[in-house]
């Protein structure tokens, strides 16, 4: 499933980052590569963006950007 649909607080593993554009490359550079474990910590007050925790740090991204991340529990 895509990361956007992962329930808050549940840990999942990245399966793939789909697409080849500036956003997906930045995501990968920030450590979102296949195999890494992550979880959604919270959503911002207006529902977007989301805060994702991975590799011991917090990364914020919009839901539209999280859509390109495929995860499995």
């Amino acid at each position: 499933m895509i990361l956007t649909n992962l329930p808050i607080g549940e840990i999942a593993k990245v399966v793939s980052v789909n697409g080849n554009n500036a956003v997906t490359r930045r995501l990968m550079e920030m450590g979102v590569v296949p195999g890494v474990a992550l979880k959604i910590v919270k959503t911002a007050p207006f529902g977007d963006p989301i805060e994702v925790r991975l590799r011991g740090y917090s990364l914020a991204m919009r839901k539209s950007e999280a859509d390109s991340i495929e995860v499995s529990e």
Binding site: R26, V36, V41, A44, P49, E51, R55, Y57, M61
Partner: protein
């Protein structure tokens, strides 16, 4: 064809040693670059290594800050280059491009570094190591400086630095920059690495990629943007994961960290927003109230200095130029220094504590509705004090179109230079009146002016992002750094550094323009025979005005005021206000002193002085009707909210956009908008019977 390299590799050990002491650096001085992720403690380390021997400039042609200092390393002096904060070196942003250029020796007059110190935050080792893997691919000796060791220990992270060093094949030094621990070891290891060049075999690269890295200086560029680059990112992180697992022992803690607890409140759905508003209020309140006293002191100091010069120098053009042109002009900039210092202090504190990223996180949804990035929030907020630091702060926005959109709307935020104008207008026509019996009309009008600026900015951004600057919504992917107590030394150093830059950049322009404006109001001297038609025009206006006032009316500025009068008459402005408008195109607050001169109440009069407000109320047009009505005052305020009247901002926009076309576009559309809005205000007001 590249010159043959002296590099030899010994496959058995995987390490090559090349003796080329200072081969790249003809002057014999070592060049060391400091690279690291944002928030990794790079600035603190830079300060610890260089002390106060620092220099800040821009890289040629771009707006990336070039910070360098002298580092006493062993017996010699090294030039330490502080690279911009980087997450990667994939050359997708200006910062990354510049770092790439420095590392490949492409920046003019800057030799390729002899070594790189990679600043690595030990609490965020995996992601920080990513940049290190990329640095290693540049075939420059790398020394790793591990920062935040004490924080890592608190989080029960045990890092085996020897293991880390062995796996990464580079020296690793744990440093506590503030307490200067590890600095000596870092110095020694850096010196050794810089003189004996070791090229480690990089395990995440394939044989052919590694061969390319060692021989081709610019292989990095060719690899961006294709499938190969994604493969490489993956390979680097796989390597890093292995290194991390072998060298770090993390004790699982189920307790929520302090940072997470703070975050729970600060980004809370309700409290988060309330706190954000509170922080903003505090910043503004402080900027406006705390800065008041030093601003007054500076004002009187500048005034006294001008007077002193006048008494000490023989009267004449030169004395007037020094006192009224140069001292008054430069003084006009310096007066805003307290506000600018305070603003930079807050920006540094908010940034270093980690709160600024949260503000962007909280507001991105709203900002993106208008086509802006969450990061645009900070520059726009800064612009309430002064658009110049605001526009300088847009550098954090990566996408050029988003950055441009933010620059183009930043001057709509009511800056502190508009305050004297608002104060004068409200003080002259709207004092003592209340709305609903409690709130003063002045406060309501003041708020309305700020509101008008914000609404206009949002509307313009909305339109621009759908027309001229059409682009997909900017990516938001952004680190939320852990909350940290800011290092006060860095904060203050940063504050003074930025204020100094502002003085240098804006001060020179303001100085030039003040001299020009001084000349416009000073020449021709009234004693000189004026042309016939001007004599009549001036003659009508001259009924019981002083010498200084007569001078300005006859000057080039006075003549220009009459030339533009037909254009501003529909706004309710006479030519005297016109002179004020012309003068205030240099800087808005100049309106107050210009009106003071025109109405002959002495040019050092302040906006809230009773004499000036009385003079304005009593002022007559050439036909004898009152020059000012409350409606005129309101119209003038509207004009000042929207018009581009600030030479320093124009100069900064030119620098930051690197384009005269966009700068002229900004002057044109803002002033056009100001004219139309003022016309609607005045004519609408007239229709409504005001």
């Amino acid at each position: 064809m590249k010159p043959p390299k002296s590099t030899t590799r010994e496959p058995a050990s995987g390490v090559a040693t090349v003796e080329e002491p200072n081969a790249r650096n003809p002057r014999g001085r070592l060049v060391i670059a400091l690279a690291g992720n944002p928030n990794a403690g790079k600035t603190t380390l830079f300060n610890a290594l260089t002390g106060l021997k620092q220099k800040v400039a821009n890289y040629p042609g771009v707006t990336v800050e070039r910070k360098e200092g002298i580092w006493q390393i062993g017996g010699e002096q090294a030039l330490l280059i502080d690279l911009p904060g980087l997450y990667s070196l994939d050359v997708t942003s200006i910062d990354e491009q510049i770092a790439h250029d420095v590392l490949t020796g492409k920046v003019p007059n800057l030799p390729k570094p002899d070594a790189v110190i990679a600043v690595v935050d030990s609490t965020n080792l995996e992601r920080n190591l990513y940049l290190v893997t990329q640095l290693l691919e540049y075939n420059i000796p790398v020394v790793m400086a591990l920062t935040m060791i004490d924080l890592a220990e608190k989080q029960s992270l045990e890092i085996d630095t020897e293991k880390l060093s062995a796996l990464m094949q580079i020296p690793v030094v744990a440093v506590k920059a503030v307490r200067r621990e590890g600095i000596a070891e870092l110095t020694e290891k850096t010196l050794k690495s810089a003189h004996g060049h070791r090229i480690p075999r990089l395990p995440w690269l394939t044989e052919s990629e590694f061969a390319e890295t060692v021989t081709e200086e610019d292989v990095h560029l060719s690899l961006t943007g294709d499938a190969g680059s994604n493969r490489r990112i993956f390979a680097r992180y796989n390597f890093i994961s292995d290194v991390y697992q072998e060298s770090v022992r993390a004790v699982e803690t189920h307790e929520r960290s302090v940072s997470e607890k703070i975050d729970g409140v600060l980004t809370h759905k309700i409290f988060g927003l309330v706190i954000l508003v509170g922080v903003l209020l505090l910043v503004f309140q402080t900027i406006f109230s705390w800065a008041e006293l030093p601003m007054h002191l500076l004002e009187s100091g500048v005034g006294a200095l001008g007077e002193f010069v006048k008494t000490q120098m023989p009267p004449g053009v030169l004395t007037d130029l020094v006192a009224d042109g140069i001292i008054a002009g430069v003084g006009g900039v310096i007066v805003f220094l307290p506000q600018i210092l305070l603003l930079f202090l807050f920006i540094s504190l908010l940034e270093d504590s980690g709160y600024m990223a949260r503000a962007a996180f909280l507001l991105d949804k709203v900002m993106s509705k208008f086509g802006l990035h969450g990061k645009a929030f900070l520059p726009l907020m800064s612009s309430f004090a002064c658009a110049i630091p605001g526009i300088m702060a847009t550098r954090t926005i990566e996408n050029p179109k988003d950055r441009l959109a933010t620059i183009l709307i930043a001057p709509f935020m009511s800056c502190s230079a508009r305050l004297p104008v608002y104060t004068l207008m409200i003080g002259s026509f709207f004092t003592g009146q209340t709305v609903f019996g409690v709130v003063s009309l002045g406060a309501v009008l003041m708020l309305a002016m700020y509101g008008l600026g914000i609404v206009t900015a949002i509307t313009v951004a909305f339109v621009l992002k759908r027309t001229l600057l059409k682009s997909p919504p900017p990516p938001f992917v952004m680190e939320l750094p852990p909350y940290r107590v800011p290092n006060l030394r860095s904060v203050f150093q940063n504050m003074f550094l930025r204020a100094g830059l502002f003085l240098k950049r804006a001060g020179t322009v303001i100085l030039a323009i003040s001299i020009l404006l001084w000349a416009l109001t000073y020449f021709p001297r009234t004693a000189a025979p004026p042309a016939a038609n001007q004599t009549t025009a001036a003659g009508e206006a001259e009924t019981g005005v002083g010498e200084e006032s007569r001078q300005i009316q006859n000057s080039y500025a006075g003549r220009l005021g009459r030339v533009i009068e037909p254009a501003i008459r529909p706004l309710g402005f006479d030519w005297k206000i016109g002179v004020g408008l012309i003068a205030s195109f240099a800087a808005r607050e100049v309106l107050v002193s210009t009106l003071s001169i025109i109405y002959n109440v002495g040019k050092d009069t302040e906006a809230d002085s009773a004499t000036l407000t009385q003079a304005i109320r009593d002022a007559k047009k050439d036909d004898g009707t009152p020059a000012w009505t409350p409606l005129t005052a309101l119209t003038l305020m509207v004009f000042f909210v929207l018009a581009m009247q600030c030479m320093s901002t124009i100069a900064i926009v030119r620098r930051e956009t690197n384009s005269w076309a966009w700068t002229l576009f900004m002057i044109g559309y803002m002033t056009g908008l100001a004219y139309v809005a003022s016309l609607i205000t005045y004519q609408g007001g007239r229709l409504l019977g005001f």
